[in-house]
């Protein structure tokens, strides 16, 4: 036990003095998430505001043929500009991306309208271009409303109620709560926490294994009258502490960052108060042992610091895999998922953020299975340190 504590304290002090370890544990990991998150949130706010507030600049060919329609479009915050000369030029302009959407009003538009035959209007856009698709949808919507209004006027003129055109009225009721809507985007958060956690201990895991071997300090260490298990456990314990600190900082930085993000504009109110931060820490904490032992194990197999770095970047990404699969398949939390580390933490965290009741059995399974896997990996690490091949 004394050996374990000695190794632990030495690794903590040693790595605390290492700027690279410190930056990755205390700055990179905890800040990466909130910064990326703020970026994504702001981007989606900007896009959702676009549709309503932004003035759409629309080239229209043959504006003079439909003055009323043009007036109507302008009232829908669409700014009309002169289009290219002729239909062929218009198609060309859209294909080459000079304009996203172009409307063509044919010469006989007014005549057709007067004769009550469907008047032709052409909408030219490129469906493969998502930006164009959004603009086209807006123009199509405006043209459709205008068409509806005209229809209503015509019916009224014939003494028929415009209601006959609406035999069914659809009322949509969206039951998602603001917290629930947050969960989709905030589901990303759980990975940032796991990322920060792993990042916090990554350089420690490398330094205490591959680094120590490369430096030539492993061999004298192993010739001391201590058991290798104790050395290993001390190293893993130090890695755990760095990971825990990094996780805590990451939770706190999100807690603060969310206060400054205009999430209400997106109709989201994530449930991420102080109590949730504390609960999230305890749900994620079992992953620390697993992360530390996994990283130490992988680093033990590598021959050099560089090789260890390469392999550990893979370990950094690995926990996203189950989260990604479940998100793509949009699976609901199930009992079996709770046996899968990283996935179980993710699902529990999403429930908390959605402000839904957390299933205590799920929590128990998640904690126990993650701790059990961590303990097995730790045991393998200790066992590996008894091998002489370790010296490379």
């Amino acid at each position: 036990m004394r050996t374990l504590v000695t190794v632990f304290l030495k690794e903590v002090i040693d790595n605390f003095r290492d700027r690279r370890t410190l930056v990755s544990a205390l700055v990179m990991g905890p800040l990466f998430g909130p910064i990326l998150f703020a970026f994504v949130i702001n981007l989606s706010i900007e896009r959702s505001l676009d549709d309503i507030e932004r003035t759409l600049e629309l080239p229209v060919i043959g504006q003079q043929h439909a003055p009323n329609l043009m007036r109507y479009l302008r009232s829908r915050n669409i700014d009309l500009v002169a289009g290219p000369d002729g239909r062929a030029a218009a198609i060309d302009a859209v294909t080459t991306g000079i304009h996203d959407v172009i409307v063509i009003v044919p010469e006989d538009f007014g005549e057709q309208l007067g004769d009550s035959i469907p008047a032709q209007v052409e909408l030219i856009y490129d469906q493969a271009n998502t930006q164009a698709e959004r603009d086209a949808r807006r123009v199509r919507g405006a043209l459709h409303s205008y068409s509806q209004e005209l229809a209503a006027v015509r019916l009224l003129a014939r003494g028929v109620s415009p209601m006959v055109l609406r035999p069914i009225n659809v009322d949509e009721v969206d039951v998602s709560t603001p917290s629930g809507r947050s969960a989709m985007l905030l589901g990303m958060m759980s990975y940032f926490f796991i990322f920060a956690l792993l990042m916090g201990g990554m350089y420690l895991a490398i330094d205490t294994t591959a680094g120590e071997r490369e430096r030539g300090s492993l061999e004298p260490l192993l010739s001391l009258p201590v058991t290798r298990d104790q050395l290993m456990l001390g190293k893993i314990a130090a890695t755990c502490v760095f990971m825990a600190v990094s996780l805590l900082l990451s939770l706190c930085s999100f807690f603060i960052a969310l206060k400054f993000m205009p999430l209400e504009q997106l109709g989201m109110t994530p449930n991420f108060g102080f109590a949730v931060v504390v609960a999230a820490f305890f749900v994620l904490a079992p992953f620390i042992l697993l992360g530390a032992s996994l990283m130490t194990l992988v680093a033990s197999f590598t021959k050099s610091y560089k090789e260890a770095q390469t392999w550990l970047s893979v370990v950094l990404i690995a926990p996203t895999l189950p989260i990604l699969i479940v998100s793509i398949l949009t699976l609901r939390p199930q009992l079996e998922f709770m046996f899968v580390p990283s996935l179980s933490q993710h699902l529990l965290l999403v429930d908390m953020i959605k402000n839904e009741p957390v299933n205590l059995l799920h929590v128990a399974i998640s904690v126990t299975s993650t701790l059990a896997i961590g303990a097995i990996l730790t045991w393998i690490c200790a066992h590996l340190y008894r091998r002489e091949g370790l010296l490379g």
Binding site: V7, N15, G216
Partner: protein
């Protein structure tokens, strides 16, 4: 007292050590001499228990290095070849880390570290972080680290590698001091003069086998060479003919 009986060690196809036997008594300096790749380091690594022999036995003060390795390590101070320090710890912290791992209490640690700092003349840089130390400074700190628990047996793998004249001299003085204190000192080298000047007993190893195990004079006599360097070359040739 270190004793080695017929140890063998292979790394895949390479047979690094093939039946080495010798003993290094207390109060004597024993030198392990041989060309590069002769099996010196492998033999020493087996003795300080980081490698296990495929065959044969070795013991430190009676404790077997395989079955009783913890006890054996208790009585060894080892300086492996190219031993590294922790760059973010000071020289003093590097030494006391090992002392603490060896189970010494705080007053003893302080006393020992101060003693070694003085003995090895590392006072000038004792409180500096060891990042950027010269090879000589590193070797001195590694040596202090190896000796901090006062081991009866001292194993040094090419300790004079990369040292300048002054540092080599102080290393030689230290080895003699250890001998006078009744310790068993076993060190390896490929420099003939160094071994001849210090050792009571010289073991010449080549191709993983012991070529000759004798005093400097004995080696001269048995190879019929007056010059030790010639004797060294002759002894190695004898093994290679076998």
């Amino acid at each position: 007292m270190i004793s080695v009986t017929d140890i063998h060690k292979s790394f895949g196809e390479i047979r690094a050590v093939q039946g080495v036997s010798f003993s290094a008594p207390d109060g004597k300096i024993t030198g392990l001499l041989g060309p590069n790749g002769a099996g010196k380091s492998t033999t020493l690594r087996i003795l300080y228990t980081v490698l296990k022999p495929d065959r044969g036995r070795a013991s430190i003060d009676g404790a077997d290095v395989v079955t009783d390795s913890l006890e054996a390590r208790q009585n060894i101070g080892a300086l492996p070849h190219g031993a590294g320090l922790y760059p973010h710890l000071t020289a003093r912290e590097n030494i006391s880390y090992y002392a603490r791992l060896c189970g010494l209490d705080n007053p003893t640690i302080e006393e020992r570290v101060d003693g070694l700092v003085e003995l090895l003349e590392i006072g000038d840089f004792a409180d500096r972080r060891s990042k950027g130390f010269s090879q000589g400074q590193r070797t001195k700190v590694s040596l202090a680290r190896a000796l901090v628990h006062n081991p009866q047996n001292v194993i040094l793998d090419e300790p004079s590698n990369g040292l300048d004249v002054m540092a080599t001299r102080s290393l030689r003085d230290l080895i003699l001091k250890l001998k006078d204190a009744g310790r068993c000192v076993l060190f390896s080298s490929h420099v003939m003069q160094e071994v001849a000047a210090l050792c009571d007993d010289i073991i010449i190893i080549a191709n993983g086998k012991v070529a000759i195990d004798d005093s400097a004079d004995g080696i001269r006599r048995r190879t019929a060479c007056d010059d030790l360097e010639d004797a060294f070359v002759r002894a190695i040739e004898m093994v290679e003919i076998d």
